[in-house]
Subunit: 252 residues, 2 copies
């Protein structure tokens, strides 16, 4: 299978490498920035290009992994191709690709960072395609990377993306706020890392509403007040403490 | 080493079992409720009691693992003992134990649930004691359970506890809210579990502020508005979405 990778950021890098490791041939990497294209091209043994007109017409898959608001423009820059064009975005509809006969979405429901290698066995792949044949083709491609394959339409993909913001982006932000509390008091973030892991491990089997702990769910007023008092010099954190404690009380 | 365990909830159960597995002798389990005391006593091969007057005077360690507002009362019910009296609470000062000659705090900075076994190797133990000798004694005891030993006074322990509320209790609540979003749209929480794990794994090496992703940190206004729109029938979640997105923008 021949793949052209459009984009050279985190998602593009992880996916291009995963495809390559699973036997696909990454023939080109396109980016507006040559040095970025070149870096990923070097990793995957492919050609770096910066002009969409130079895209190879014979690829089986055109993988668009660029910023959301650039997807449509990149897709429209691909001319006279017959292979499947997919984007990888959770927040973008499939319809932005409709100029192409064969198109779909290949959304990895996972968080990627450049430094951290990721095993695609743990990456749910959410697929959408503009025909049954293209869905079957995408499924066969996806199964080379991960056993976690879901058929998800544009509406549901947007929902998954919002849910992911709560479960990943907001969660990481809370990790950061906890770090802020520790730092202000000369305590090391290292101390919290085992707790962070265990909290995630717990909901791998259980549902979160069944394993909620802490002062808010117990309605332990004394501790809640004490914590608000401890945060009085960090009013921003105090406000979030109150909001989320109230939200816990409301939903239990 | 002979231990009397006062309490029979999650923390008491995990700690009593961990001590037993590491060669200590749990001689009694006290609880107000006999059947609860009996259940843990059976697990640890010890005697169940419900009257504090029946507590064995010859134990080396009296481990108070009861609800925060019951600690002082239980401590005062222990008469004529010479062993070390410790509580396990993050939110309670050491001074509630000051009626006892030898006392301290043995706070496991971890989340416990009855169903989930836990390896104490991953449990940071935060110790405080009323004398250097008692601190040394507690350290020797703690090292049997975990290599993660910290000397932490009452003020810092309270800070750790607040930070833990952010990194564990509030995080779990966000998992729950993401589940709510999925459920309303007939999507399975299972799909998010790999993302939840990876989010926790990422900060085991990195600091959270260095790995923040998502629309808020990119200030991707289009996606932020779309997400708020998607949550309009869940006003409670919409509000939290706005609050936490603003908090991310403010801190980056």
């Amino acid at each position: 299978m021949k793949i052209v990778c459009l984009g050279s950021g985190n998602v593009a890098t992880h996916m291009a490498n995963a495809f390559k490791d699973n036997g696909a041939d990454i023939i080109q990497v396109w980016s507006r920035d040559l040095s970025n294209a070149q870096a990923l091209a070097n990793e995957t043994g492919s050609q770096a290009i910066t002009d969409l007109k130079a895209v190879d017409k014979r690829a089986d898959l055109y993988l668009i992994a660029v910023k959301d608001d650039a997807i449509e423009k990149v897709a429209k820059g691909l001319k006279d191709i017959n292979g499947m064009v997919v984007h990888t975005s959770g927040a973008t509809g499939m319809e932005v690709l409709q100029g192409h006969k064969n198109h779909g979405v290949f959304y990895p429901l996972q968080t990627f960072s450049k430094a951290q290698p990721i095993d695609f066995i743990h990456v749910p792949l959410c697929l959408e395609a503009n025909s049954e044949e293209n869905m079957s083709a995408l499924q066969l491609i996806a199964m080379k990377l991960s056993p976690l394959i879901y058929e998800i339409d544009t509406n549901k993909r947007e929902i998954l993306h919002v849910a992911g913001v709560f479960a990943c982006n907001f969660v990481n932000h809370l990790y950061q706020l906890s770090h802020q509390v520790l730092k202000k008091n000369e305590l090391d973030f290292e101390m919290l890392r085992p707790l962070i892991m265990e909290t995630a491990v717990k909901v791998q089997e259980a549902l979160p509403e069944n394993v909620q702990t802490g002062p808010a769910v117990r309605n332990d007023k004394k501790t809640l007040l004490k914590h608000e008092e401890l945060l009085k010099r960090m009013p921003h954190l105090q406000e979030i403490y109150k909001n989320l404690s109230n939200s816990i009380k409301k939903t239990h």
